[in-house]
């Protein structure tokens, strides 16, 4: 069964134009001008139950607007939308019983009172029975290790602690779909990992469908089997993460550090007619780019033994970089000519660093 079914979903906003200067402002006083802007342009996708799907895109690509439509906050301009068997905007109060929502930048807990009081209140709002609530809370508290935090007021919690509490708050009523909007924003790497582990477990044990937006592609790599990529209100990629990598992966790069100075011509000669590309970092360091279909060991065997080597490093293209490339080209339809990816990208090919898109 489908958890989320979206057909030709569209959302247009009316945007006010402000005319410039004093004269413009005076004119605006009497007559306003508006323009229509489409934030989401006729997108379609289906998410089966039990899937974790990453929803990514640059700021302003339409991620939040989509999430807001899926959670019943906004009414679409046109298109078909069924979530959890409901049309979200039609039967809002019944619909939201079955979903959980976490907005990473906004709290749903009461600021001044103990966390447990917020949970108790949410139990009432969602009409969860006392026994169910207890069992559920105990379980969540144990997995997220919140025992010591329950009686602290929210304003005294760190961001990481608060985010774990937000997750509990969104899950108390046992929703079958969980929407997460930037759940790891601003968190340190340890908390991020904890939250990812928790979400994975939730998905495996309870079969909860999860849709998350994020700027941190590490989230995607850790969690999602599927990625939907959005650009300017349109879906530019929808499919598996592995597929994305294999389609867009630009191969690997091997860096050799020699004991003695080398020249570009000399190192190029080692590989002869192989379809690789060499570049020099400095006089003792050279890099070779190897296309995906070629074996790294073939190249290595040609180089090793030719000259004394003090160090070898292998770089795998990471998702960050792939995504950045796709954004730049504006489409994931067909990978461009790989040789176009010049060497000035090389400096960015650091071994995985946390969250490139994070602010």
């Amino acid at each position: 069964m489908l958890a989320i079914d979206v057909h030709d979903l569209r959302k247009q906003f009316k945007v006010q134009k402000n005319r410039e200067g004093l004269k413009g402002a005076l004119k605006d006083l009497f007559k306003r001008e508006h323009t229509e802007v489409a934030a989401v342009k006729d997108i379609s996708f289906q998410i089966p139950q039990g899937e974790i799907c990453g929803y990514i895109g640059e700021n302003g690509a339409g991620k939040s607007t989509t999430i807001k439509m899926l959670t019943g906050i906004l009414v679409p301009t046109s298109g078909k939308l069924v979530v959890n068997g409901f049309v979200p905007y039609k039967d809002r109060e019944k619909f939201v019983q079955g979903i959980g929502v976490v907005f990473g930048q906004r709290s749903q807990l009461w600021w001044d009172i103990g966390v447990i009081e917020s949970f108790q209140l949410l139990r009432k709002v969602y009409r969860v029975g006392e026994a169910d609530f207890r069992a559920r809370l105990d379980e969540l508290v144990e997995t997220l290790q919140l025992q010591d935090l329950l009686n602290r007021p929210v304003r005294k919690l760190s961001l990481g602690q608060r985010m774990r509490c937000e997750l509990v708050a969104a899950l108390l009523h046992n929703p079958s779909i969980l929407f997460l909007d930037e759940p790891t924003i601003g968190l340190d790497i340890v908390v991020k990992t904890e939250i990812r582990e928790f979400l994975k477990r939730l998905n495996k044990e309870q079969g909860t469908t999860i849709l998350l937006t994020t700027h941190d592609l590490q989230d995607i790599e850790a969690l999602c089997s599927r990625v939907i990529m959005l650009d300017d209100g349109r879906i530019i990629y929808d499919g598996g993460l592995e597929e994305l990598k294999s389609r867009w992966g630009k191969g690997r790069e091997v860096q050799f550090q020699f004991t003695d100075p080398v020249s570009l011509a000399a190192v190029s000669a080692y590989t002869g007619d192989m379809a690789v590309r060499w570049s020099l970092e400095n006089d003792v360091t050279a890099k070779v780019w190897i296309p995906r279909e070629m074996n790294v060991s073939d190249v290595l065997s040609r180089v090793v033994g030719q000259k004394e080597i003090s160090d070898i490093k292998i770089f795998e293209t990471n998702t960050d970089e792939i995504v950045r490339e796709i954004y730049q080209s504006g489409s994931a339809e067909a990978p461009r000519d790989l040789s176009a990816l010049s060497d000035d990208n090389a400096s960015e090919k650091e071994p995985a660093k946390a969250g490139a898109g994070e602010r």
Binding site: L22, A25, D28, L29, F30, R32
Partner: protein, 264 residues
């Protein structure tokens, strides 16, 4: 330097213009207030010719002009400052290369200028058609009045800044701000001219800055204060403007120290 501060005036002026519903409703607010108080005072006068030396005409002129003056001097600097302190953005403002309080003052002025030109002038014209009021004929009276409401603005803004800064010291500044607002409305003479208060209250109020905000300019405008007394009234305003600088400086110094110690 000056041009930068003038820019704050301009930007706030444009900001006010951007909200047109605000503009229309503002005119209606003032019209209704003046209308309601006019009828209220008419009922209070009843058969009487004069009350506390006010004729009916003088009274309605006073009501109209004091509400119009209020349009100019009124601002929400207290709430703005208080909010910026509570949400911590004051720390960012302080490290900018300008005087925070002066910028606030300029923003308040931009707001006042907006209301003066777009509420007060059209409002006064409308009111003078509907209600029997008497505008001064002597141009000097007009000039002095505009000088005086400039000081009204200064004094009122200073009081607003003082109460706004209270947020540095009290966890909840709302109470202080509400009390200030009530005091200004009641004791400055917008709701009731000071002359209507009982004698003991008048002698107390003479020593408070509130009367300088509405009552003095309103009295000059209606011609109840004439001749040399006009200069005395102006002097009182100037004196209060100067005197109020002292507590602001003290509170501001203490506040900054507090900010640096606590880190905002």
């Amino acid at each position: 330097m000056i041009s930068m501060y003038l820019d704050f005036v301009r930007i706030r002026f444009l900001m006010m213009l951007a909200y047109r519903v605000n503009y229309y409703s503002g005119i209606v607010i003032y019209a209704i207030n003046i209308g309601a108080y006019y009828f209220l005072w008419k009922a209070i006068f009843g058969e009487a010719e004069t009350l506390q030396g006010f004729t009916v005409i003088q009274m309605s002129t006073y009501v109209a002009v004091s509400w119009m003056a209020r349009a100019f001097y009124f601002n929400n600097l207290d709430r703005e400052i208080s909010n910026e302190i509570v949400d911590g953005s004051v720390a960012i403002q302080i490290i900018r290369p300008y005087s925070y309080l002066f910028v606030k003052m300029m923003q308040g002025f931009g707001e006042g200028l907006f209301r003066l030109l777009l509420f007060m002038v059209p409002g006064m014209i409308v009111v003078s058609f509907i209600f029997p009021i008497e505008l001064p004929k002597d141009p000097m009276q007009w000039i002095v009045f505009f000088v005086m409401i400039w000081f009204s603005f200064l004094i009122n803004s200073q009081l607003n800044i003082l109460t706004g800064l209270g947020a540095f010291f009290f966890e909840n500044n709302q109470g202080l701000m509400t009390m200030k607002r009530i005091m200004v409305d009641l004791l400055s003479g917008v709701v009731v001219p000071i002359a209507f208060f009982p004698g003991w209250a008048i002698s107390v109020l003479n020593w408070l800055p509130f009367q300088a905000i509405t009552y003095l300019p309103g009295s000059v405008f209606t011609g109840r204060i004439e001749g040399a007394d006009v200069w005395n009234a102006l002097l009182v305003q100037v004196a209060w403007t100067v005197v109020l600088i002292i507590p602001i400086m003290l509170v501001w110094r203490a506040a900054r120290r507090r900010l640096f110690v606590q880190g905002g």
